[in-house]
């Protein structure tokens, strides 16, 4: 799983986060360090799709984001699809 948009959605599924917090969280749970350009590219695309949105804050330089209902739905679909691939792969490995 290396799609930056999925990683951002998965990070925000836990709760609201700003850019740096997302970067740290993704590195922790996926072992992938997203570069600043990649992270903000993903944030831009996700916001355009309406899958995440900014949360009101006083510190506009560290803007937190929240996953929307549509974003949760998309993430659930993608994870279910990935889950099927993982299950199939693992069962086939056992048979081999």
């Amino acid at each position: 799983m290396s799609d930056p948009t999925l990683l951002v959605l998965a990070s925000l599924a836990e709760g609201d986060k700003h850019g740096y917090a997302m970067m740290e969280d993704i590195e922790l749970f996926a072992g992938v360090r997203l570069g600043p350009g990649t992270l903000y590219g993903a944030i831009t695309r996700l916001e355009e799709r309406g899958w995440i949105g900014p949360v009101k804050t006083r510190d506009e330089r560290r803007q937190p984001y929240r996953i929307t209902a549509a974003g949760q739905e998309h993430l659930a679909e993608q994870l279910a699809s990935l889950n099927r691939v993982v299950k199939t792969g693992l069962s086939r490995l056992k048979q081999a």
């Binding site: 948009t5 850019g19 970067m23 570069g35 600043p36 350009g37 831009t44 506009e60 330089r61």
Partner: protein, 234 residues
């Protein structure tokens, strides 16, 4: 590092900087950035710039960029100079006989001696240098009994000296008893001329090639971006 990264933020389009610029700068302050991030930010900025461009705009910009890069490469190439001498072959122009003489004159030992004497091709390995030397030598018929021998190098004085050396060695090899059985009489009619700049046409062709090559790259890039956009839209 930080000033470089801050500069790269300005490569993003204005609409994007207005919305995310301050956040990105805060992220760069908070995270320990490395050289990997320079490429990541540059790529991100280019992707964002192109996200609002049409197919035609991407192709046109890539074409112009290709022309600029190829132009820079073409004009950064060192000039070459070719010095030409003319030999008269008597009694008749016998290609086979002349080839045997040339073969006897340009042995690997002789060629490596010329390379060493003139310090040609810097520190390159000897085998490769001999091949380059042979590629730089040109022999072409000028008339039924005249043959032009020329040599090209990036230093005009060396090009002329090597050209002189080459024709002298052909003449010497011809009078060698083991070769003289071919009974050719070879004499120098025109000594190596002052070297002329060569390869201008090659430079211009390379520079001109940059535009179509850039456009072709632009078409591929625009198609990839279109596919990626379609995939993220689903």
């Amino acid at each position: 590092m930080k000033p470089v990264l801050r500069f790269l933020v300005y490569l993003y389009p204005a609409w994007w900087r207005h919305r995310y610029g301050r956040e990105l700068e805060a992220l760069l302050e908070d995270s320990g950035s490395g050289w990997r991030d320079v490429w990541d930010l540059f790529r991100g900025a280019m992707e964002m710039q192109m996200s609002k461009w049409t197919f035609g705009a991407i192709v046109a910009v890539c074409g112009v960029a290709g022309l600029a890069i190829a132009g820079a490469v073409a004009f950064a190439m060192p000039y070459e100079y070719r010095s030409t001498a003319t030999l008269k072959i008597d009694p008749v122009f016998d290609t086979d006989a002349l080839n045997r003489v040339v073969h006897a004159a340009f042995t690997p030992q002789v060629l490596s001696e010329i390379i060493r004497q003139e310090h040609l091709y810097g520190e390159a390995p000897l085998d490769g240098s001999i091949e380059r030397l042979l590629r730089a030598i040109r022999m072409e018929p000028a008339a039924p009994n005249l043959v032009r021998v020329s040599f090209a190098y990036n230093n005009p004085a060396q090009a002329q000296r090597v050209s002189q050396d080459l024709v002298s060695r052909i003449i010497s090899a011809n009078v060698n008893p083991s070769i003289s059985q071919y009974q050719l009489r070879i004499e120098l009619t025109t000594p190596p001329d002052p070297p002329k700049k060569v390869g201008e046409g090659k430079r211009l062709s390379l520079a001109h090639l940059g535009f179509p090559a850039g456009m072709l790259f632009g078409v591929v890039l625009a198609l990839i971006l279109r596919l990626r956009r379609a995939r993220t839209a689903n």
